[in-house]
């Protein structure tokens, strides 16, 4: 009922979005076909799309997609497993939060990609290193959103549950965790996009095991048709789009009750 508005509105929005994308592709096509841009720099959009289509059914290429997604998924899972419990702890204890503030402020500004050389030295160029870097980068939004979710806990909700005799562990399980859950999920959604960026960046720099970045690195040399590189870029974009779309859809499904998400008219 509260989602009805979004649901009826969605086809219109998606339709307009598709028109925009089609216009953009058309423009790119015209620009190259008319010779305004050298096709050696920007191949015609139609041939990039054709190459993309062929790649998406090419098992040799899909191994690379799978490699990226494996690092993405394992890194994100590790980040959640570490950051959610720490966030719950930091969110609920002022003393622990104060004690850890300096360490957090020191670590947080380090750009995750700056850690790549060190990670290669310590962990090699395989999956372990990728997972570690993806986990490091995506842990931050999960951590901060979890802390925020716990601190946003309504004392009156807790009082109500306590007054009806719920014990400490029941209050945590039935009240505190569910009410922090939408915030934690927001952290996961943001982290999911960051994790993909990190996974591809690390592959581009470190190469080694299969991954979209590794594949792009191999296809960026002279003499390789430029369509391939552009198709790789399109595929990473599509992955990002799919991941974000799934996370947003999951959010609407799971947390329709959250005040932030429900549109009550």
């Amino acid at each position: 009922m509260s989602l009805a508005l979004g649901a009826t509105d969605a086809p219109g929005r998606v339709g307009r979005g598709l028109i925009g994308v089609a216009a953009f592709i058309g423009l790119a096509e015209v620009v190259t076909r008319a010779g305004i841009v050298n096709p050696a720099y920007l191949p015609p959009a139609s041939s990039v799309l054709g190459t993309t289509g062929r790649l998406l059914v090419d098992p040799a290429f899909l191994v690379h997609v799978a490699g990226t997604l494996a690092a993405w998924a394992m890194g994100l899972a590790a980040a959640a497993a570490i950051a959610i419990p720490i966030g719950l702890l930091l969110g609920s204890s002022r003393r622990v939060r104060d004690a850890s503030a300096a360490a957090v402020e020191l670590l947080r500004p380090i750009p995750s990609v700056a850690l790549i050389p060190l990670a290669i030295l310590l962990l090699g160029r395989g999956l372990d290193m990728r997972v570690a870097l993806v986990a490091y980068a995506s842990a931050w939004p999960i951590l901060f959103n979890t802390i925020y979710g716990v601190r946003e806990l309504d004392p009156l909700a807790i009082d109500t549950a306590r007054a009806f005799g719920l014990g400490r562990s029941e209050v945590i399980r039935r009240i505190a965790l569910p009410s922090a859950a939408p915030f934690i999920y927001t952290g996961l959604r943001v982290a999911a996009s960051i994790a993909l960026i990190l996974a591809v960046s690390v592959e581009l720099i470190a190469g080694g095991a299969p991954g979209i970045g590794t594949w792009m690195l191999a296809n960026s040399g002279a003499g390789v048709p430029r369509e391939l590189l552009y198709a790789g870029i399109v595929v990473s974009g599509l992955l990002g789009l799919a991941i974000n779309g799934l996370m947003v859809a999951g959010e609407r499904r799971l947390f329709a009750w959250a005040p932030r998400l429900r549109s009550r008219l």
Binding site: F164, P178, R262
Partner: protein, 256 residues
């Protein structure tokens, strides 16, 4: 002072984070609530009514005096009390359906699932919300949400029902309806109610006795017996000379 289901005896409370030289929120409050009665507590804003209710609910520990339920000093949250707060939007849980909200306190009572379901649907029917089990609280109007909160309290079958300005956030017509609902469930269940409000009208209309608190730090300024006959009626009772006289008396006590 003995004999009440609830006895508040020399209660004092000082907030831990209050300034050291600030007076306590509550200073020596004593009154008793006999079983089966409806006692209202009125007082100016900030006089310590909510603090008093939180002490009785066992949510905070008094810093002086004692609260007894059935003659036993309470230590922590008593088993037999239920609460209804003013802010239904915050005391109902938005991720739970209406039925789950009502059911939550029942889970720890060791009832059979069938018994719990019956209690939930009976309580919802009693407050006029039969059929809303699967809805979410935020899909209901404010008045309906407060009915859910009352149903939750009644399904719990408390010996003592604590209400903190439960109708302060609803409009006048809904407030009158909810007052009638409170009187009818109170009488139907023979429960005991401690009703905190700053609305003198409401206190006199509902209660057997009105405990008037002084401005902070709270003391009992007066303990007024309301002899109005029951059943009470929104129009007849409120326009009776006795009601008008009592209301004026309580108002003068508060202003003093």
């Amino acid at each position: 002072m003995t004999g009440g289901l609830l006895e508040v005896d020399g209660l004092g409370f000082r907030h831990a984070d209050a300034a050291p030289d600030a007076p306590p929120a509550i200073e020596a409050v004593s009154f008793s609530v006999p079983g089966g009665s409806l006692v209202a507590v009125v007082g100016p804003s900030g006089s310590g009514k909510t603090t008093l209710l939180r002490c009785v609910a066992g949510l905070v520990r008094p810093t002086a005096g004692e609260i007894r339920l059935d003659g036993r000093p309470i230590d922590g949250v008593p088993d037999a009390t239920a609460v209804v707060f003013q802010d239904y939007g915050r005391s109902l849980f938005p991720w739970m359906s209406v039925a789950d909200n009502v059911d939550l306190p029942l889970r720890r009572l060791g009832l059979a699932p069938a018994e719990r379901r019956t209690r939930v649907s009976d309580a919802l029917a009693e407050v006029g919300l039969a059929g809303t089990e699967a809805s979410y609280p935020w899909q209901l109007s404010g008045g309906m949400q407060q009915r859910v909160a009352i149903a939750r309290a009644m399904a719990y079958r408390p010996r003592l029902l604590l209400m903190d300005e439960p109708f302060a956030s609803v409009d006048a017509q809904v407030r009158a309806d909810l007052q009638e609902l409170t009187l009818s469930v109170w009488q139907a269940h023979g429960s005991t109610v401690l009703f905190v409000t700053h609305d003198i009208d409401e206190a006199v209309y509902l209660a057997d006795r009105v405990v008037v608190l002084s401005p902070a730090p709270a003391r009992v300024a007066a303990d007024v017996a309301v002899g109005l006959p029951r059943p009470r009626d929104q129009i007849a009772t409120r326009s009776s000379a006795a009601f008008v006289e009592l209301r004026a008396r309580v108002a003068r006590l508060i202003r003093r």
